[in-house]
Symmetry: C2
């Protein structure tokens, strides 16, 4: 019997929603889409892959920054169209150099306040590619 369960990619037009969570402290690091190829590559390699909507290509997280995510645990939601990936995050998850992409909180006056430390600058992560 093949017990392998697959997410429901069709529901989201080929993409499921993946929430990356720091396996060490439970912090939500980022949210991105995964297509079937990204999901399969994640399971096969143990390194988290996403589908980059902006670049229209398979995206191995950390391929240019070095900030890889090693898969620790993969959880399905009740509908099968969203997953939580618990990961060991190398360095910052956010392309702006913060540990989490969710480093800004909505303040009472409607503005956004950064309440996290910037670990690296984008230049340090990606170099000056101009």
């Amino acid at each position: 019997m093949d017990a392998t369960v697959r997410p429901d990619f069709a529901k989201g037009g080929g993409l499921i929603t993946a929430v990356a969570v720091d396996a060490d402290n439970g912090e939500v690091l980022m949210v991105a889409g995964m297509n079937e190829a990204a999901y399969d590559a994640t399971l096969e390699t143990g390194i988290v892959h996403y589908w980059s909507r902006s670049r229209g290509k398979l995206w191995r997280k950390g391929e240019s920054s070095g900030n890889e995510q090693t898969l620790v645990e993969l959880r399905f939601d009740c509908d099968g169209d969203a997953i939580v990936v618990r990961v060991h995050q190398q360095g910052p998850a956010c392309h702006e150099g913060y540990r989490s992409c969710f480093h800004r909180t909505l303040a009472a006056d409607g503005s956004l306040a950064v309440d996290a430390e910037r670990l690296r600058t984008p230049d340090e992560m990606y170099g000056n590619q101009g």
Copy 2:
């Protein structure tokens, strides 16, 4: 000056991705979409609202089950098209009666294993509506 910042609803075709997190222990409870009306209703009432894709309507979480989410903090991601809502969750977040919708983990054999306790049955939450 109006400092009010808005999420980027246009990028996701009118919807942003909202990740609900238990404010007490950081557990990811659920993922759902929010349109502008749901986002505004959440801020205005302090009770989390989503857009129900399946029912095509504004959805005050807990409106039929009683399992409301009181907003504690709202965080923006770097792209502005996903938010984390830290909430006080009343009872189970999941319509299957589990605290979190992500109550199943992918096991080594490819099957899904429930590793959480069911708090209520759907009948207890929604009654027998047959």
